[in-house]
């Protein structure tokens, strides 16, 4: 059945049993529809494709090692990823965030580069050549599995906006040293996407990233050990 005709059929069916206005009847309708079209589950869900189109354009980027990669195909697809924006000469918020993500990488251990991938995309692609980014990686002693990326300025701007890593205050958004400190994390295959603040406590960030592991989501929770600030703590 074509998409359009099925949709019409569903819309048509929806009117009659729900006219009474009782949402409880929807579960009966659910069974009815599954009976009519047992493959509904598979045929209907195009959401992964929609999510890809909306948020992850397949632009070509260059890694700090000079390798040309496709943003969706090579970096995002089927992976658990952590994505932020920075630039090499940034003396503002990048400094604490890079240091914090370095702690995150250390805590995640050898999973980084195996099933969890970290990406930092430059906000100044005109300045940040692959060589400069490579120098940045060496200078900060960052381990493999965390890739720094540059590309065409227009396309990087689109990527940044599509991922929501900008501020809607247009004046503030132009001040690059104060760029957005949020970091996107997610599991592409599962369409689980959220963000964490780049300056949050590293162990807490690690906990968040590990939820994106399918096994972890189903695992029974453990009691948390609270970290208590000292009496009369001043800041």
């Amino acid at each position: 059945m074509s998409d359009v005709s099925r949709r019409k059929m569903l819309a048509g069916l929806a009117v009659a049993p729900l006219a009474a206005g009782v949402v409880a009847q929807a579960s009966g309708l659910d069974n009815l529809l599954r009976g009519l079209n047992p493959t509904l589950e598979k045929t209907e869900d195009t959401s992964r494709e929609k999510t890809r189109k909306k948020y992850f354009p397949n632009f070509e980027l260059t890694t700090h090692e000079g390798k040309r990669v496709k943003f969706y195909d090579d970096l995002i697809k089927d992976k658990i990823v952590v994505i932020n924006f920075m630039y090499a000469q940034c003396e503002g918020i990048c400094v604490p965030i890079t240091a914090n993500l370095k702690r995150v990488q250390r805590l995640l251990g050898n999973r980084v580069g195996k099933d969890i991938f970290m990406y930092s995309i430059t906000l100044k692609p005109e300045e940040d050549t692959p060589e400069k980014l490579k120098h940045y990686v060496h200078m900060h002693h960052l381990k493999p599995g965390w890739t720094f990326l540059t590309g065409k300025p227009d396309e990087i701007e689109i990527l940044r906006r599509k991922m929501g890593l900008y501020t809607s205050n247009t004046k503030q958004d132009k001040i690059l040293t104060n760029h957005i400190g949020m970091v996107r994390y997610g599991n592409e295959a599962r369409q689980w996407w959220a963000m964490f603040p780049g300056k949050a406590n590293a162990p807490w960030i690690v906990e968040s990233i590990l939820w994106m592991d399918e096994g972890k989501v189903k695992q029974q929770p453990q009691e948390r050990t609270p970290k208590v600030r000292g009496m009369n703590h001043k800041h």
Binding site: A11, V22, T46, S168, M195, K199, W204, R224, K227, H235
Partner: protein, 606 residues
């Protein structure tokens, strides 16, 4: 039957044209530079808000003049057109108890059987559950409008909003809450949940703390004692009757994923009755009888994909999601038949981000006054009449009395939101002219015989006095702000494991909440209701003067509240209830114990 005015038709056409224009732009594969050249896109990357491109084109113009650049997300889709007022407003079914649960509920977490709770019930033996419920969170296909396809919603026992719990003070219950949600989320949502009862006097382990989430295949026993604050402290054995609550709701609270999971359907009502608020208009306060004339209404605004009509959630939005379709109890713009008498409506702003100011608009765009009797589930001292609408922030509940007796059978009255809001940052505070706002619901007066024994609010009945205060142990101050696009409270970021301060059980405190620049936040604090002492140095309005659990913080607002923390211990959060802000870490954790500490008491640093 559906009475579509010329204005509505014009609006629908406008929306349809806007959607068509956008689709044509996409089809033509215009790139960014082409669109900027053509004047269709701002340098900031958004389709220009002008007539024909935006569904909000009829607004005052302020939306175009603000420096903010639009949705704050990945563009707001323009939903497909839908004909308003085609279907009746659904009323969620009442939850029915089960005879027994297997295995039998126990004080310690039954980890072996798959229970995800990590801490023992602290009040189970004292308040033994008299009714048991079993709820399964699962995906169901549901229609939100007959002209849109069925939606894959996440439900409590098959409905969204979920089933309504009808509870009574003095009758403890236990809900066994199963997570049967699918891994395949259809684009958004996480099959990991924590169900919060907002705002029960609930021990921490049953409260639905954001970090007490559990995965698919597990269950969680939530014990709701249904007791008044003070039962183990200031008012032993009874609790303080002046702390009675009426309209509560429950919703998912999974840290980082609350907005997605609630947008997908995980929310419902929880009503509490007692010997005064009886649910029977011939007894107690004589409020309109439940369920015939006492009607819960959950408001949500949502977006739908212009191409396939499926529910759309912008994963890139950090400011707040505004929908262009308005739903009541899960249906887009339904109608509701009313008799010529008084009704109690329990209005709940279910989010995700929009602020409403509701008016009742009669034929000829005139305003029908109504009475407010309760704020955040707390009956006021006396009813307050409004002729200027009623403001409701996300998560706030406002119970109102609407009298339809003056209308002839066949009359039509619209519930209309006239508050202008352009983006997730907050409303402009412009009030749109009557008839030009968002009509969310159509009341149709029917000619049935009328019998109304409910109290007339005009006789000024007294409900509950504001509870008396005791001396506070400490004052704490909280400033809500932004740091590089990250939400901070007193300059710090959220961490589930970070106890920011400790409150000593059975003491009182003063908290001062201060809003930052250019943002509006509905701040919710779990556990007891608080009292608003001062708003920007002034005595609060009659409506805000009583007990509350959501505080509106507009730009630069400064609100002082009084709090007691009685009877139970454990962890609770304070957070913004714009669920998009909440999911981007606008939250802190505090714990109640028998020692307490003095953290976050630096009130002089401003």
């Amino acid at each position: 039957m559906a009475n579509i005015s010329k204005r509505d038709r014009r609006r629908e056409r406008e929306i349809a044209n806007a959607a068509k224009n956008r689709r044509e732009i996409i089809a033509a594969q215009l790139n960014r530079r082409d669109m900027m050249k053509a004047g269709l896109l701002t340098s900031a990357g958004y389709l220009i808000h002008k007539s024909g491109l935006s569904a909000r084109a009829q607004f005052s113009g302020d939306c175009d003049n603000r420096w903010r650049d639009g949705s704050g997300g990945n563009g707001t889709p323009v939903s497909p057109p839908t004909t308003p007022f085609l279907e009746p407003m659904p009323i969620p079914p009442v939850a029915q108890p089960v005879a027994a649960l297997t295995p039998v509920p126990q004080i310690n977490p039954n980890t072996a059987a798959g229970e995800a709770r990590t801490r023992p019930h602290q009040a189970f033996a004292q308040f033994v559950p008299q009714k048991l419920y079993e709820v399964h969170q699962r995906e169901v296909l549901i229609s939100m409008h007959p002209q849109l396809p069925l939606q894959r919603l996440w439900t409590f026992n098959g409905t969204a909003p979920g089933q309504t719990y009808v509870a009574r003070y003095g009758e403890p219950i236990l809900v066994r809450n199963f997570n049967d949600l699918p891994a395949n989320n259809g684009g958004f949502g996480l099959q990991s949940v924590s169900t919060h009862l907002h705002n029960g006097h609930t021990p921490s382990e049953s409260d639905g703390f954001p970090c007490d989430f559990f995965g698919q295949g597990n269950f969680y026993d939530q014990h709701y004692p249904n007791v008044l604050a003070g039962i183990n402290s200031s008012h032993p054995g009874t609790g303080d009757i002046l702390e009675s609550m009426s309209t509560l709701w429950y919703h998912d609270h999974r840290v980082d994923f609350t907005a997605q999971n609630v947008y997908k359907g995980l929310a419902g009502f929880y009503l509490l009755f007692n010997n005064f608020d009886t649910g029977n208009e011939t007894t107690g306060f004589r409020l309109p009888t439940y369920p015939d004339f006492d009607i819960p209404m959950m408001f949500n605004d949502k977006n739908f994909d212009p191409d396939d009509g499926l529910l759309a959630f912008d994963l890139a939005n950090r400011d707040g999601i505004l929908g262009d379709k308005f739903l009541v109890n899960g249906k887009i713009q339904p109608f509701f038949n009313v008799k010529r008498r008084r009704y109690r409506f329990r209005w709940l702003n279910g989010g995700p981000s929009r602020f409403y100011r509701f008016y009742l608009t009669k034929t000829g765009n005139t305003n029908h006054p109504f009475w407010i009797i309760s704020n955040d589930g707390n009956l006021l001292k006396n009813p307050v009449q409004t002729t200027t609408g009623l403001f409701i922030a996300v998560a706030e509940r406002m119970d109102v009395i609407v009298d339809f007796s003056s209308f002839a059978a066949g009359s039509v009255i619209h519930l209309e939101n006239r508050l202008e809001q352009c983006d997730g940052a907050g409303p402009t505070n412009n009030i749109l002219p009557a008839g030009q706002g968002n009509k969310v619901l159509e009341f149709r007066v029917v000619s049935d015989a009328v019998n109304d024994q409910s109290v007339n609010p005009a006789t000024n009945p007294t409900f509950y006095q504001v509870p008396t205060r005791v001396t506070e142990r400490i004052k704490r101050c909280f400033k809500f702000d932004r740091d590089n696009g990250q939400w901070v409270i007193n300059d710090k970021l959220f961490d589930c494991n970070d106890v920011r301060f400790k409150v000593k059980r059975n003491t009182a405190e003063i908290w001062q909440l201060e809003g930052g620049f250019d943002w509006s936040h509905p701040i919710h604090i779990h556990f007891e209701e608080h009292q608003v002492l001062k708003r920007n140095g002034n005595t609060p309005t009659l409506i805000e003067r009583g007990r509350k659990d959501v505080i509106r913080l507009g730009e630069g607002d400064d609100v002082e509240i009084y709090f007691r923390f009685r009877d139970f211990v454990g962890r609770y959060p304070m957070h913004c209830h714009n669920t998009i802000h909440e999911d981007h870490a606008m939250m802190l954790r505090f714990d109640i114990d028998d020692v307490g500490n003095d953290n976050e008491n630096d009130c002089g640093r401003r």
